[in-house]
Each structure stands twice: as C-alpha cells, then as structure tokens.
Symmetry: C2
Subunit: 310 residues, 2 copies
C-alpha cells in the first residue's frame, strides 16, 4: 500500500462511505510531512458533529454556511462527494463558486453516466478537475458510526476518467484509493453503468420484486411464514434503502432497462423449459449457473458462454 | 418436546434429511421402554455403510436386497422416504410388496401433489397408510456426514393428510416430527405446492436465471469480477443441486408456472416505473418490500397488501 500525502481533503457526506475514506486516510495512509487535514461537510449538523466526536474528521462544516464552506475549500487538495447520486448536481453547484483551480473533485456515486452529466452541468469547463469514481463497498449499517478504516481493503474502486481529465489528476485520485487498500480499475462511465446494472442494480430490483409479488398474494402471511433460508438470502437486499434504490434505478435507467429485458428473456426461456418438462435444458442451465457461481465464490475467472465475443 | 416411542423406523435415504431424523429420534426423543431401532436403506452400499459407521442408524440394508428389505420392513412402525421426489414412485413400488398393514409410510419430498399421485399409483388402496410430509430444513452440505440431531429444531414440517388417512395415522407422524423439535403444520398438497413455489422454488429459478443471464453477456468475466455482496447473497442458491432443482421444477410445474407469471407481471410493472422515472411508484414498492422483509426477519406476522382477500 502506497503512502499518500495531502494537506487537506474535504468530504461532503461523512457517513459510511465518506467517513470510511476519512478514517482510512487518517489511520492507514502514510503521511510524509504533509498536514493531512480532513474536513467533513454535512447537511445535518448532527451527523458532522458526530463524525467530529468520533475522530473521523478534523473539523466539521455545515453545508449552508457560505463563509465556512469557502474557507474549507480554499487550498483543498481533493474534494470527495459522498452523497446519494441525486444530490451530486446540487452539491457540485454549491462547491463550484469556491473551487480552487488546483483542487481535484471526485465522487463515490453508484452510477456514473448521470454523474458525468451532472458534473458537466454544474462545473462547465472546470469538469477537467472532476474524476468520476465509485468505490464498490458497503456494510449493513450506515452513518458516521459505521465508518471503519478497513472498509476499502481489497475492494474494487472504479474510476471513469473524462477525456478532459489530465493524466496526473486521475493518477492522484487513484493514489488516494490505493492508499486505503483498494484495487483501482478504470473503465468508461457506460461500461461501469452496464456492469453495475447487471451485477448489482438488477438483483436489487429482482429481490424487491419477489417480496412485492408475495405481498400481493391473498395468502401472503401464510407464504411468508413458510419462507426459509433460500428466501432469506435472496431477499436480504430487499431490505435496502428505498430512497437510494429509487435514485439508482432512475439514474441508471437506460442500462437497467436493458438488463431487465435480457433477464426477462432468460426467465421466459426457463419458463418454457419448465412448461415442456424439458429436464435436460433445465439441468444444463442450472449446471452452468452452479459452476459459474462456485468459481466466482472461490475467486476464479469465469468464462463467458460465448467466448468468441470476448 | 414430547417423548416418542417406536420399535422400528425404516428410513429410505440416510443423507442429510433422513440421517438427521434418525439422529434426532435416537439422540433427542425420549423412549419409554420401546426398542427404538432405526434401519437405514440405501441404493449405494457406501452411504448406508457410512451412516452405520457414524452411528446414525442401527442397521443398514441395501435397496436391491429383497430378503433384507423384507426383514427390515416387517413390523416397522414407520417408513420414511427421504429421497429426491422423482424417486418416490419407484421407491414406494419397491416397498409395497413388503408393507405391513400396520406400518405408516411418510415422505420428506419438496413437492406434494406429485408425491400424492405417485403414492396412489404405487400403493393403490393402501394409500391410507401414506401421509405426505415435507420437513422444511436444509444445510449447505449433504450426505450422512451432514446429518445432525438438531436439524429440525424450530423448523416447519408440513403434513398434507389424504382423505383416506385415519386421524390416528396422521397424529403418529405429527408426533414423530414434534419429537425432533419441529413445528408441525397441516395443509392440502395444493396449498403446500403453491406456498413453496412462491417462497422457495421461484427464488431458486430467479437466482439461477441471473447467473445464466450474466454468463450469456459478451463481457461476462468483467461483470462477475465486479459482483459484490448483493450478488453473493442473491445467487447463493444458484449453487444448489441442478438435478434436485430440475426435478422440483418439473414436479411442481403447474404452481411454479403460476408464480413465474405473477412475478413477470410485477417485474414488468417495476420496469414501467423505471422507464417513466416514476420515483414515487418505485419508492412505494421498495418501502413495502423493505418493511415486509424486515418484519419477516424479526419473526413478525406480515399483512397481505389486500387484507380483504384473507
């Protein structure tokens, strides 16, 4: 893990994601003589004060305080926007007037195409200072109390550099995440949104849909009373934040619709195999899934069904 | 937990389900002077010998040995068929010639309508001796080594009595399961199959389908490499036995098709809300799911969306 020096980092949103970055940089990253100050900015006085109390940040700023915000952003090395994706544009508009030309801005949003649009709209030409990012990490709990220094160790962080970003700017954001113990990958915002729609956003929608479907059955209570371990695992993500997933579904609408349609087609094919009692087709599909899931669990590389398209 | 006395129980299939019943009855259930012998019958010499070696059963019989099977079934109190549902009919046909009129037969199959048909076909008039059952319990591992005496503690066991079953016969099977620490419920085979299709069989198909869909993408390897915790939980059941789930899908075809169609409709409605960026509809649906999932996890009773239909 590389040492990462900085004088000041300003984090908008000091909950699990922003707070864990703060703690990782303060507790894990080596500082070579630099000041290493972490400023937390929040909409609610309560959450920034709690972060300060926990020692997650060095100083706390209330988002609506113009003067404090200006001082916080002056001479900042890096600004991280760690808020729900729907708040990215208003937050960047709030930051823009006080943004130093040498400050690098990045984010932690779960979707990237919409964040790029928001950044272009809010920052204009200064979008060259903005590097879209997504640390793929989470815990069941949230808020400053959930922040831990090791959240990003061995987790994937995706950066989606813009054509306008100077290489050194992207490099600096990558170095920050590497210092937390994360693995850093680069891809386009389109590729990111398609990958995440497939392995994260779609499963959430499918899980919510199962609970919704059972709720609509006249014998819902009976059905829930016989749900067991398979249901528990499958629906764990159906207890996720409704607001967050509403925003993600809308922010990543195009990619998610493509995935829903592809999934509906696969489900229709399995339905057909069940309807015609085609045991061979069912077993073949289930075997493929089991093998891929097992290899994935063991950390192995998975070959696509159609290798020629790789 | 009630004491449960028996002279001889014969279990066909001494893996996780049959072996755990054997261990529960031998190690947990109180015996009041009765002989309490457990005979294991298996298709493979290896698994019954392993069960004998582990002390799961008192004696082992090879399924193809006519003479040993006849002796094993003579004077048996209860016979449990704990084999994949597709084997129910051949096993009952194998048992029929040696079945004492006072012996009660039950099973542990995951589907019940097809088991009832199999029992009627194999046993004819003697179907009055057969009580269809389903202990809803499982572990990740299988085979006699996975058998544990506590597998059924606080788990649900469903009995689907036939009109032909004398009340005392059903009562005796219920008492056996109660002695393992299980909760015993009664419902019709149709009701059982509909409930299980909804909360177990459908989620398995949906989980297999997600992995299958990603495998078909040209960038499958990339997608799997960014899959995280939500994917892990959602697809845990996609590593289940392909043969077992092929058989369940076909055995419970009618109920499962009904559930797949209901699910497809719910998914289409969510798709529509995403397509039209209807945040309110998405949030409302996700809220309902989160509430129901949370209440379920906490062991509470869940009210159906349409209470008037209860």
């Amino acid at each position: 893990m590389a040492a990462f020096s900085f004088n000041k980092i300003v984090i908008f949103g000091v909950g699990l994601i922003g707070g864990s970055l703060a703690r990782a940089l303060r507790e894990r990253a080596g500082l070579t003589g630099a000041k290493g100050e972490v400023v937390g900015v929040g909409r609610s006085i309560k959450s920034v004060e709690r972060a300060l109390e926990l020692g997650v940040i060095d100083s706390a700023v209330f988002l609506d305080d113009d003067r404090a915000l200006e001082l916080a952003l002056r001479d900042a090395d890096i600004v991280l926007v760690a808020a729900p994706v729907a708040q990215t544009e208003p937050l960047l508009r709030r930051i823009a007037p006080f943004l130093d030309t040498r400050t690098i801005v990045t984010d932690a949003g779960s979707t990237k195409n919409d964040v790029v649009s928001a950044a272009r709209a809010a920052l204009g030409d200064r979008v060259a200072q903005f590097v879209p990012g997504h640390p793929i990490a989470g815990r069941e709990s949230s808020g400053p109390d959930a922040a831990i220094p090791d959240l990003y160790v061995d987790r994937n962080v995706v950066l989606c550099p813009l054509p306008e970003n100077p290489a050194s700017v992207v490099e600096r954001v990558a170095d920050m995440w590497l210092a937390t113990g994360a693995r850093v990958h680069r891809m386009t915002a389109e590729q990111h949104d398609s990958v995440l729609a497939s392995v994260s956003h779609l499963p959430h929608v499918l899980s919510f849909a199962l609970v919704e479907m059972i709720l609509q059955a006249p014998d819902a209570a009976l059905k829930f009373s016989f749900a067991a371990g398979g249901f528990r695992d499958f629906t764990r993500i159906a207890a996720s934040s409704p607001e967050m997933w509403r925003d993600i579904c809308i922010a990543n609408r195009a990619a998610l619709l493509t995935e829903i349609d592809a999934y509906t087609n696969v489900l229709a094919r399995l339905r057909q195999a069940i309807d015609t009692a085609d045991g061979a087709a069912l077993q073949a599909a289930f075997e493929r899934s089991r093998t891929a899931r097992t290899v994935w669990q063991q950390g192995g590389a998975i070959k696509a069904a159609d290798d020629s398209a790789q």
